[in-house]
């Protein structure tokens, strides 16, 4: 049974600007955000066992659990080391949750920013990883040692797609869906050479189509992405559109709100 980690949006808010999406004058409508989170939570619960970490008042972005860390083996986690000081207060809260639940917690060196599953995604026998915007490439090498698997490094070149999971998702072990414009030409070649590929057009990438959660044959996708949704439906997937407008204001959507603990 798939297990995931989510964090209720009790203290979610927009209090600083650390990516291209965040604008203090465009704060989320919090009751609507809470409703959108509940819709996602309800759908995820149909497909997986959901663990909840308690939100902390000083951490408005803690709701984005994908950035908590990365599972390395069954009962071990590589904890994130956030690039921006604004998000570092999240680290002890996530550490405590993992320790209390029996996980061995590993950490990155001080000078090596790493933002967990936001930037490293499982892709069958290997992992794909983004760098330059949040996570640095030094973290890929260290993650590869803990994982004992190949980690393909992909350079992100557009500030709007600052985490790998905003620009790419893994559909199955051999197929990735991605927005080519977010990557440099080398990264695109790496993706094309290792996977079967499907593309997201820019207007749907802007609506966070790539920030989708795939569990089995179901894809939980931010609403407003009909082209890629119809493409996946044609391939036999069930696509469930979820309104995510209030989280997109902070630069996140479905996938950012979910961290995989077990597949």
């Amino acid at each position: 049974m798939t297990r995931v980690l989510m964090c209720p949006p009790d203290h979610y808010d927009l209090r600083y600007e650390i990516n291209a999406w965040m604008h203090l004058e465009n704060r989320p409508l919090l009751p609507l955000a809470a409703r959108q989170w509940r819709m996602l939570h309800e759908q995820v619960q149909q497909l997986a066992q959901v663990e909840l970490v308690s939100p902390a008042p000083e951490c408005p972005d803690m709701v984005f659990t994908a950035n908590a860390g990365l599972m390395v083996g069954e009962k071990a986690v590589l904890l994130s080391r956030f690039r921006h000081p604004e998000r570092r207060p999240e680290e002890p809260h996530f550490r405590r949750w993992f320790e209390e639940h029996g996980y061995t917690v590993y950490t990155m060196p001080e000078d090596c920013p790493f933002e967990g599953e936001g930037d490293i995604l499982w892709a069958g026998g290997r992992y794909v990883a983004g760098y330059r915007k949040r996570t640095e490439i030094c973290a890929h090498r260290i993650a590869a040692e803990y994982l004992g698997r190949e980690v393909l490094s992909l350079e992100l070149v557009d500030d709007r797609w600052y985490h790998l999971d905003t620009a790419l998702f893994v559909l199955d072990e051999r197929t990735v869906v991605y927005y080519p414009g977010a990557f440099d030409p080398y990264a695109r070649r790496v993706i094309e050479e290792h996977f079967h590929t499907l593309y997201v057009i820019e207007e749907e990438a802007m609506r966070f189509a790539c920030n989708s959660v795939v569990i089995g044959n179901t894809v939980l996708m931010p609403e407003g992405c009909p082209l890629v949704a119809s493409l996946l439906e044609r391939k036999g997937y069930e696509v469930i559109p979820i309104p995510m407008s209030e989280f997109i204001k902070s630069g996140g959507a479905c996938k950012c709100l979910v961290m995989f603990l077990e597949r």
Binding site: L198, Y199, P226, L227, S230, L231, R234
Partner: protein, 407 residues
């Protein structure tokens, strides 16, 4: 003297339908009398005319009636006449031969729409639990005893609406466009593709091997991977040269990067076919990791429905090619269900074959370097087709940029 009363109803004055019908009657050598005429007083009110057609003999009457029906003239208030097919694969004498326009038949006083309309077929009428059903049937599918419509009594055809003045395609007219701003035309095509997808309809792409020879395959591949294309019709050649490109980097032995023919390059396409035959088919080659890129690879990954129809000059062919032409037509008939827009690029044979099957309501673009292809298509009854005479590599590059952004 042979006569028949016809009625014409709709915006028949503004759209010049009445004038057209009267002109057709005169040109067909028959006489007419206008029995009644009611003119709509405002834009939303329709007009109605009853016209008695007078002909010297039955044959010229039927010919004239058949012509004017295509412009919306309703021949009578009679029910359609039905006759059984005398044997398998044969329509009854005097069967009604369909157009690609929306058609209705009158059975027991009710107008019933004809399903899956297609030109040059018969109309089979069956009685089911939910009532009467009328459908378009190609000759080879007629079964002895099936009831078919004969004559044109009780048959009504809806003509295509006139293109609106503000329509993005108005400036293209309905003719073949050569001396027109090409980039603007491609923008209009891109918009039509978007609108089709937004309506939840499918986009059909019909392509020839020149797409690969001219180096345009990557543009088509991008559109497929982004989900713009739902159905692909082609022949052995497009698939073979695309696979040749994926496996050897050549098309007909010419290196696509440099434009230089390679030593023994002429063998590449046959080796490509052999590789796919050994794998058991295109999908199997993709699954086994033998085929890793190209149009056909993209179709498999993106779940595009592909119909490859064979021809007499095919090498191989690839195992996926349907070599029985009647079977291929039937597979194409299945493939066009739900299609709202068709792009026909650089192929005469497959464009005309597809045009034969498509209802006139499907927005159709025919893109070819040669104006003849486009003219042939419209001459064969696909009057809805917009012709664009241009190089397919230019067209596909522009279209891919419009739909998927800069590469």
């Amino acid at each position: 003297m042979h006569t028949e009363l016809i009625t014409l109803e709709g915006h028949i004055i503004d759209s010049l339908t009445l004038s057209k019908v009267l002109d057709i009657l005169v040109a067909s050598g028959v006489d007419y009398e206008i029995r009644s005429f009611r003119i709509g007083k405002s834009h939303d009110e329709t007009s109605r005319a009853e016209i008695l057609v007078i002909a010297p003999d039955e044959e010229s009457l039927q010919r004239a009636l058949h012509e004017v029906q295509q412009h919306g003239a309703v021949i009578s208030q009679e029910d359609a006449t039905l006759q059984p097919a005398p044997q398998d694969g044969v329509f009854p004498d005097g069967f009604y031969s369909t157009t690609n326009l929306e058609t209705y038949v009158r059975i027991e006083g009710t107008w019933i729409p004809v399903d899956r309309i297609e030109m040059d077929c018969g109309i089979r009428v069956t009685h089911t639990e939910s009532g009467w059903r009328a459908e378009c049937i190609p000759l080879h599918r007629a079964r002895k005893g099936d009831l078919f419509v004969v004559g044109s009594a009780g048959v009504r055809v809806t003509p295509l609406p006139r293109r609106e003045a503000e329509s993005v395609f108005h400036f293209m007219g309905s003719e073949v466009s050569i001396e027109k701003p090409k980039a603007r035309i491609v923008q209009a095509v891109a918009r039509a593709v978007r609108e089709t997808k937004l309506k939840g309809q499918k986009v059909l792409f019909v392509g020839g091997p020149a797409i690969v020879h001219t180096g345009a395959a990557p543009y088509l591949e991008r559109m497929i991977r982004a989900g713009w294309i739902d159905v692909l019709f082609a022949g052995n050649a497009l698939a073979t040269h695309d696979i040749e490109r994926a496996l050897y980097g050549t098309s007909l032995g010419v290196a696509l990067e440099t434009g230089v023919p390679e030593t023994h390059g002429h063998e590449h396409h046959l080796r490509a076919i052999n590789t796919i035959r050994a794998a058991g088919g295109i999908r199997q080659a993709v699954e086994k990791g033998v085929l890793k890129s190209g149009i056909m690879h993209a179709c498999v990954v993106a779940g595009v429905k592909v119909v490859l129809a064979g021809s007499i000059r095919d090498d191989g062919p690839l195992p996926d090619v349907i070599t029985d032409t009647v079977q291929a037509q039937d597979a194409m008939r299945e493939g066009i269900r739900g299609v709202g827009l068709a792009l026909m690029v650089a192929t005469t044979l497959h464009s005309i074959a597809t045009g034969n099957l498509l209802p006139a309501s499907v927005t159709t673009f025919c893109i070819d370097a040669n104006a003849d292809t486009v003219i042939k298509l419209t001459d064969r009854g696909s009057h809805q087709a917009f012709g664009i005479v241009t190089d397919c590599a230019f067209f596909l590059k522009e279209l891919a940029t419009q739909l998927c952004g800069e590469a």
